[in-house]
């Protein structure tokens, strides 16, 4: 398990991440903050998430494999321990809550569908994704 992501690392990438998010969602940069939820606050839809990830890859010259967040969150749990027919197990939910530590705890609902996980993402989630990809590229 790699070292925890520091506030400084997040803040270093935030301005460019916020800009990419604002552009993809046609928002004024002032409407975007570190805590903005992509779906609920900024009215993203699924194709916008692809668009944001694409813009971040271009902006930071990094690779962000699709589905990486779920895979990382699962870590050393087996698939069966993590989910059951696309529904998160209690252990899976706990792992996800740890991994998405920037998301307020009450946003995680028991028996959440894996397909709904992106609705949890905030701008900070995107920042952390970028930091991890940059670390991986530097490694």
């Amino acid at each position: 398990m790699s070292a925890a992501i520091t506030r400084a690392e997040v803040e270093a990438v935030y301005p460019r991440v916020a800009n990419a998010v604002a552009q993809a969602l046609a928002r004024d940069p002032a409407e975007v903050s570190l805590n903005s939820r992509l779906f609920a606050d900024l009215e993203a839809e699924s194709i916008d998430l692809l668009d944001i990830v694409f813009r971040l890859e271009r902006e930071f010259k990094i690779q962000i494999p699709r589905g990486r967040i779920i895979e990382d969150a699962r870590g050393d749990l087996s698939e069966a321990e993590f989910e059951n027919n696309g529904v998160l197990t209690a252990a899976g939910l706990a792992r996800l809550r740890d991994y998405l530590s920037e998301v307020p705890a009450d946003n995680f609902r028991p028996r959440m569908n894996i397909a709904d996980v992106p609705t949890l993402f905030t701008v900070e989630t995107m920042c952390k994704m970028v930091v991890r990809a940059m670390r991986a590229a530097g490694a």
Binding site: A26, I47, L50, D51, F54
Partner: protein, 429 residues
């Protein structure tokens, strides 16, 4: 009793102006929208002029602004024109009415943005052969995922219904230059048969790009009068030498007549008749006798319950090609009689040919003719072709009442569309 259809909103984005008022004013003043091409460098092309939409700023408010990233140039025209039409009508889909709204649009003879295709080609064919798998290579030249949505044939209609919250019925018409007219005609039929009470109907296109221009150059269909752009489009003139490519969009809000009356809507005209035919003759040629257009015009008049003698104005397809102009004149003579004095003009003389958008824009012009009692001129008609001996509008005329107007649109592939519009006071409730 048959349901009638009122035109209650009009929105235009044309080479003559980015609003209905600006476009209409330029038409009456005989101001040309044709000029040297600015959107790309046409050096080396035999044709270097077109009727471009100028100073266009796509504008959508609030959360709808995001839709613009899925919209290529011609779709941005469509969204802007549709927005104008809805505002002009003073009625829009709401949660109660949304399922009673339809959206029908004629669109994209070529729907894919050329620059995007070229970019994908550059990225995925580094050594000449196209290699699609490179898209998925780590660190490879992945194209923008949104480009997929932008380049679907139905991208325009999908964004229109999304943008305005339309939930009843959608149709995208692709019959080349007849598309816009047939879209409006189909919307008329949807309201008549009770499938919808409201329709956002129109057409949009832009082929002023390196491939679109080249295609028509290769067909030899365009005027090469690069030195005199404003005079290049000369429908029905003996010296004409081809059409001029235009771009833009036109949309109308159509409403079931009684409902429009009840809400006190301003009614431009009744959309009274829709006539279609197929020439099934040749891919790009029109039949010299006017066969095809003749049937479309007769069917539209019959559909409207109108007599040819009532028609005060025909907005001709009038492309400024010898083949179209002579065939269309033969058709008009066949329908209206050799002695007919019906006024005819082709507004393509000023705004060029909007291709899939033309039929809708020109039907809207027909509605404005009836509403204002003014006829747009057929510009550049200095030496009328003796084989086109119709009563053309060659100069501005004093205002007078037009009871019935007609708009013709004929497409490659043999689709012929004719729409008939009637003065609201003659609609006979």
């Amino acid at each position: 009793m048959r349901r009638r259809v009122a035109i209650t909103g009009i929105g235009l984005v044309t080479p003559l102006g980015n609003s209905t008022a600006d476009s209409w004013r330029a038409l009456l003043e005989g101001r040309s929208g044709i000029a040297p091409i600015t959107s790309f460098d046409p050096s080396g092309y035999p044709v270097q002029i077109a009727a471009e939409v100028r100073n266009f700023q796509p504008a959508l408010d609030g959360s709808r602004r995001k839709l613009l990233k899925f919209a290529s140039r011609h779709v941005q025209f469509a969204l802007a024109a549709a927005q104008q039409a809805i505002e002009d009508a003073g009625v829009r889909p709401d949660p109660r009415s949304a399922s009673r709204w339809a959206c029908v649009a004629g669109s994209g003879m070529m729907g894919v943005a050329f620059e995007e295709l070229a970019q994908i080609q550059r990225r995925l064919a580094p050594h000449g052969d196209f290699r699609g798998e490179l898209m998925f290579k780590p660190g490879g030249p992945a194209p923008d995922p949104v480009a997929y949505g932008r380049n679907q044939a139905n991208a325009g209609i999908a964004l229109l219904v999304q943008c305005f919250g339309i939930k009843g019925y959608a149709g995208a018409i692709h019959t080349a230059c007849a598309s816009g007219g047939q879209a409006v005609g189909l919307a008329l039929r949807l309201i008549r048969r009770g499938s919808a009470d409201f329709a956002l109907a129109g057409g949009f296109d832009s082929m002023i790009n390196p491939i679109g221009l080249a295609s028509f150059c290769l067909l030899g269909a365009l005027s090469t009068d690069n030195d005199a752009p404003a005079q290049a489009s000369r429908p029905f003139d003996l010296t004409r030498n081809g059409f001029v490519l235009g771009e833009g969009a036109g949309f109308m809000v159509l409403e079931e007549w009684q409902a429009a009356r009840r809400r006190g809507a301003r009614i431009y005209a009744e959309l009274a008749g829709d006539g279609n035919s197929l020439s099934s003759y040749r891919v790009t040629d029109s039949h010299p006798s006017g066969d095809g257009p003749i049937q479309a015009m007769r069917r539209a008049l019959e559909d409207a319950g109108a007599d040819p003698a009532e028609v005060g104005y025909i907005n001709a397809h009038g492309t400024s090609t010898i083949m179209n102009d002579r065939s269309e004149c033969a058709a008009i003579r066949a329908v209206f009689g050799a002695a007919s004095r019906v006024k005819v003009s082709s507004t393509k003389s000023l705004m060029g040919h909007l291709i899939a958008g033309a039929g809708a824009v020109e039907a809207a012009i027909g509605a404005l003719v009836i509403h204002h009692g003014r006829l747009p001129v057929n510009a550049n008609l200095n030496h009328p072709d003796p084989q086109c001996d119709l009563n053309f509008v060659r100069e501005a005329e004093p205002p007078h009442r037009v009871r019935v107007a007609m708009s013709n649109s004929f497409g490659f592939g043999g689709s012929n569309s004719c729409l008939v519009l009637r003065h609201r006071e003659d609609a006979g409730e």
